[in-house]
Symmetry: C2
């Protein structure tokens, strides 16, 4: 089960309803954090996200609303005596900033904080991978260097198919276990491959997070066939000129990206304090991409 | 009227009930901010404190819980197009930290941010003064360099005393106005001084803020005869050894400081997440200093 929790869905100016940007993905007992605006640690506490479960944090870009919550979160985990290391991925500059924070607060770190800077020359690729998932990233088009992220669960071997397996007459036991894990086995002097007895592999689910950017071909590329596209929509359709000037997206840009990438579902976020009528925003999206929804703080989506 | 608003009354670990340290003093149309933990800008919004009214910010020490809200607050004022300059007073290191924040977020400042660093060698004195009030400061005794602050309203000329003024036979008008302002005037070839026609000067009110420190003689000195002493009490009486080890105060330390400084009223703050029974804490104080109270987020005190 993959769970997405929206911790903060506002844009640069926080409101009582919408805190600053941050999204958590809970997967396989681990939490992956995307952006960490001021107050993210409070929202985590409000919505039951445990800081200790975070192993990887990804920061899209170095505008304060997307990462000023990082020093506080890291300090709190230190005070709570975290010992497990953590990885922080972000644009160049984040390392100096965090080291400055640790230095002037005289922080004696109880756990390793690995800061991995993505250079401005980065053209896209995999930032992190383990046996269950990987995080792909690509630069977007904002006023400063900015990254989109895709959480991609790996494919899993298909279910054991009794019908297909019948002819091999396999005994119940470890051989079937090996096949289910995707390994070939020998039985009765015959090599049996996983595909001989298993259904089609179960396709891994994916979530693509695009914030902040103007309409971007790279976003479409990153989101290709994704199950859930989370896309910023700081501006309504009528403010397209303002959106372009500020290097942000409109509802139409978000919906176009969902359509052209063949995404399954769109959730718009980075909602401006200006917007009170959220249905209006979503209806603008729906003209282009019907499965459109809006994010709100505390929204949980299960994939 | 002087109004104190407690924005955050927790200690290093924020809870749902107590946010990180910050206190606002509203005086004469201006807000003075003391410490600025993460989330202070949200608390200001929750409790109706306008960021634009802040002219001076004082940071006691460079532990993250006391100043990690500063970059976000300064950014938000910039996004809201503040143009009026602001002064930030704090220990050495704060300037580099803030400049690093401005640099990596590529912040184009719309207003002047004057950062005044107080060197570790500072032995006490006045940090800021205008015609209505001054801010006095003195080093405390914490694990790192740490400052106590005293807001001191200046004395005002006494009320015009008709009885005393009778013999001068002054006409109603600008001469009386000058005398009320504290200036001498000439009338009927006679010099009239303010004290000839005014009551005793009206004593300015004061608020002393002591956080974080172990029991400190300097705190007593700074709080001398203060109207309101706000003192940290991170530990209950029984945890005195822990308090000493951590360079923090117990309830007893706070109450002793109130007593020895001849303060009028004590409010304890920097309450640990450990403490649920606030009455117990206050009762410990009351054994020594009867006019003791505890702070909570949103508490407003009018002097």
């Amino acid at each position: 089960m993959i769970e997405v929790v929206f911790l903060g869905t506002g844009s640069a100016l926080p409101t009582k309803e919408r805190m600053l940007p941050s999204i958590a993905i809970n997967y396989n007992g681990e939490t992956i954090l995307f952006d960490c605006g001021e107050g993210t640690q409070f929202q985590m506490s409000n919505f039951g996200i445990k800081p200790f479960k975070i192993k990887n944090i990804f920061i899209s870009h170095l505008h304060g609303d997307h990462f000023f919550g990082l020093p506080g979160l890291l300090s709190t985990m230190n005070l709570f005596k975290r010992t497990e290391e953590i990885n922080i991925f972000g644009p160049e500059g984040i390392k100096n900033f965090l080291l400055e924070c640790f230095k002037i607060t005289n922080m004696t770190k109880r756990y390793d904080i690995n800061i991995i800077e993505i250079p401005d020359s980065f053209e896209g690729g995999i930032l992190f991978e383990n046996e269950n998932y990987f995080i792909q990233s690509i630069p977007l088009e904002h006023s400063i260097f900015d990254l989109g992220f895709r959480f991609q669960e790996k494919n899993k071997p298909g279910h054991y198919n009794l019908e297909k397996a019948k002819k091999f007459n396999l005994p119940i036991g470890p051989l079937i276990g090996e096949l289910k894990k995707g390994n070939s086995v020998f039985y009765n002097n015959q090599k049996i491959n996983p595909e001989d007895v298993l259904d089609e592999p179960i396709k891994g689910k994916s979530i693509t997070i695009i914030t902040d950017t103007k309409f971007s071909e790279n976003a479409i590329k990153l989101a290709k066939d994704t199950d859930l596209l989370i896309h910023e929509a700081t501006f309504e359709e009528s403010l397209i000129d303002k959106a372009k000037e500020m290097n942000h997206s409109t509802t139409i840009d978000a919906a176009q990206t969902a359509l052209l990438s063949n995404s399954q579902k769109l959730i718009i976020t980075h909602i401006s304090a200006r917007n009170e009528d959220l249905d209006k925003l979503v209806n603008e999206c729906k003209k282009i991409f019907i499965n459109s929804h809006y994010a709100y703080d505390s929204l949980r989506i299960i994939l």
